[in-house]
Symmetry: C2
Subunit: 349 residues, 2 copies
DNA sequence: CTGTTAGCGCCTTCAG
DNA sequence: CTGAAGGCGCTAACAG
């Protein structure tokens, strides 16, 4: 029924092995022979059987990309960049690799499930993006999985995620969330703000914790007390930002600034402030984090920290493909850049 | 080195066949035996070899999801919805399927390449999302590919994409882009607008053409002449919207409304208008399309057509999994809903 | 440079 | 309900 490599070999009057060599291009084959094989492939409209070749070679062309939320541009941008480096030539079987994006939805179980699925597929590499869940049991389980993947020859790269235990052999490109958070709050402090609300992401996430730590470090550095009531946790979405802002306003109507865990949350915060009749930045300043494409279009444009998502993703992709050396020690920290725009100003009064 | 099914069988003191049956759960096995096998699997930390099982069974657990631009929430939202229906139980081998998102970047070649890769992997299903490229050669190539995929047992579903030729056996969930486009322009006409600029998407895309056709149908229905100079094509991104708007303003400073191909483009249009010192909607009204999450946060909030991306994606996912019957004739048209918000008003003067 | 020979690890009839 | 046996399609040593 389906044409196999043997059919091609017969038509081209060579052995199956030769066809395989032509297809994988990793072995010297006479030009005329290659020509003949390629023609046969074409005439028969032959398509290599991936599973069979993966089985025989004990490795596949799959590269897994795990993201917390594919509907969030933060991950979409990174995933696109990673994939753009993976699609190219360099793999086995015709030089094409299949970059597959897996959406964990932020769920630890799904993350583990996908890792197992990828392990089962004998993936060539796996890239984990974004913040990790900070649950000891889960962190251990993930580390164990990564260890096994690495043992099985799968390259493991972390992108925008803190380093895994050293014995997992994972390369890590980490974002300096702490530093960015600190810069943002310091910017507000310099403008004169003292009463700032903080909308944090979900608890037990590294991203959440690091950004919050940066904020607190800035407060501490300037001797500003940190009132726990001025910090609210929520998901990384617009709605959470909206609701958290109303809650903060209820707790402390005199806030002069709102620091959001990311741009999406900041957008929700802006909406809540407007709906509460407050002007930005005249009454309340707002800052986000990430500098997603829409942030510059907010009115007023959002002050935020730009993360080089695309660049980081591309680098991660190259490392995953083995096309670029892993950095010394396997860890790179990528800094963000403070983008001061219209959403922040001096506090009123 | 690596643990195989045979190892598990030995440890559980059963035959490999029995282990296979337990793992796939598609065959009666005595409870006590199953128990024993499962324990052995656990103790040995056995992970099924995907390629081997795909080879033997002539089908894999992969489900491909093709998107034009994963960084665009339009696709991200659909992809997330599709994947959420795929991850669940129902597949072979432990009931898990691997939903893989492939980013074509809108390139016909990459689309074909991914389709081949998926064919090579013997994917269980493939979901193609978003507008198709309207190039005859390419359309034919894709149709041929889909035909072959279907012949090989791969289920093919189109989501937010016009139906493929009937003989491809592809189920299609189509968005009523024409109707939505017409409603939007009709809304503007009813407000009193007569001079409307149109920012279309890339040429040779079904989405672009259909939305534009809707716009023109509305103009025609009201006897409003359609000046070709008032239509500009560009990519589906913010920047294209920004530049196209400046161009339209240059060509016709007296425009009272700008119709954008989608929300992202509309956002760019708003920015350009603001930068040109024009107020929205007092000087110029703006409408988008899709109703992405950020659209309600624009200032003023964007008038647009809401597409049920999540619902459509979920349905497509279920059909792809064979968990839901394909509709009669294999085609469903999903209508959008006009969302009138602050970005549109009566024209000045 | 090319053909031959063994499997890769699993599923699936076919018996029992 | 369970075991035995053959083969899925390809690759990777070996010889030549």
């Amino acid at each position: 029924m389906t044409v196999t490599l043997a059919d091609v070999a017969a038509r081209a009057q060579v052995s199956p092995a030769t066809v395989s060599r032509v297809l994988n291009g990793n072995y010297p084959v006479a030009a005329t022979t290659r020509e003949r094989v390629l023609r046969a492939v074409d005439e028969l409209d032959y398509v290599l059987n991936g599973p069979a070749s993966a089985l025989a070679a004990a490795t596949s062309d799959l590269v897994g990309i795990l993201v917390n939320d594919i509907a969030d541009p933060f991950f979409g941008i990174m995933a696109a960049a990673i994939q753009s480096e993976i699609g190219g030539p360099g793999g086995r079987a015709g030089g094409e690799r299949l970059g597959v994006v897996c959406n964990t939805g932020g769920s630890p179980e799904r993350e583990l499930t996908y890792l197992t699925l990828l392990q089962r597929q004998r993936a060539a590499a796996v890239v984990l993006t974004g913040g990790a869940v900070e649950n000891t049991a889960h962190a251990t389980a993930v580390a164990t999985k990564l260890r096994k993947l690495a043992d099985a020859g799968t390259r493991v790269v972390l992108c925008g995620r803190p380093p895994a235990p050293a014995d997992t052999d994972a390369v890590a490109l980490t974002f300096d969330n702490r530093g960015g958070g600190q810069e943002l709050t310091e910017h507000l402090i310099e403008l004169g703000h003292r009463r700032m609300g903080y909308i944090a992401g979900p608890e037990e996430r590294t991203t959440t914790r690091h950004r919050l730590e940066g904020h607190r470090a800035a407060l501490a550095a300037h001797g500003i007390p940190d009132d726990p009531a001025w910090t609210v946790h929520g998901r990384y979405d617009r709605r959470a930002g909206y609701e958290a802002t109303l809650e903060l306003l209820r707790r402390e109507p005199s806030l002069t600034a709102v620091v959001a865990a990311n741009d999406t949350v900041a957008l929700g915060a802006c909406a809540a402030l407007r709906d509460s009749g407050l002007r930005i930045p005249d009454d309340v300043s707002v800052v986000g984090f990430d500098d997603l494409p829409f942030s510059v279009d907010a009115v007023p444009a959002l002050t935020t920290v730009r993360l080089p998502l695309s660049e980081a993703g591309a680098l991660a992709g190259r490392v995953a493909m083995g096309r670029e050396e892993a950095p010394e020690g396997g860890i790179v920290t990528v800094r963000g850049e403070l983008m001061v725009r219209g959403s922040t100003g001096v506090p009123k009064g």
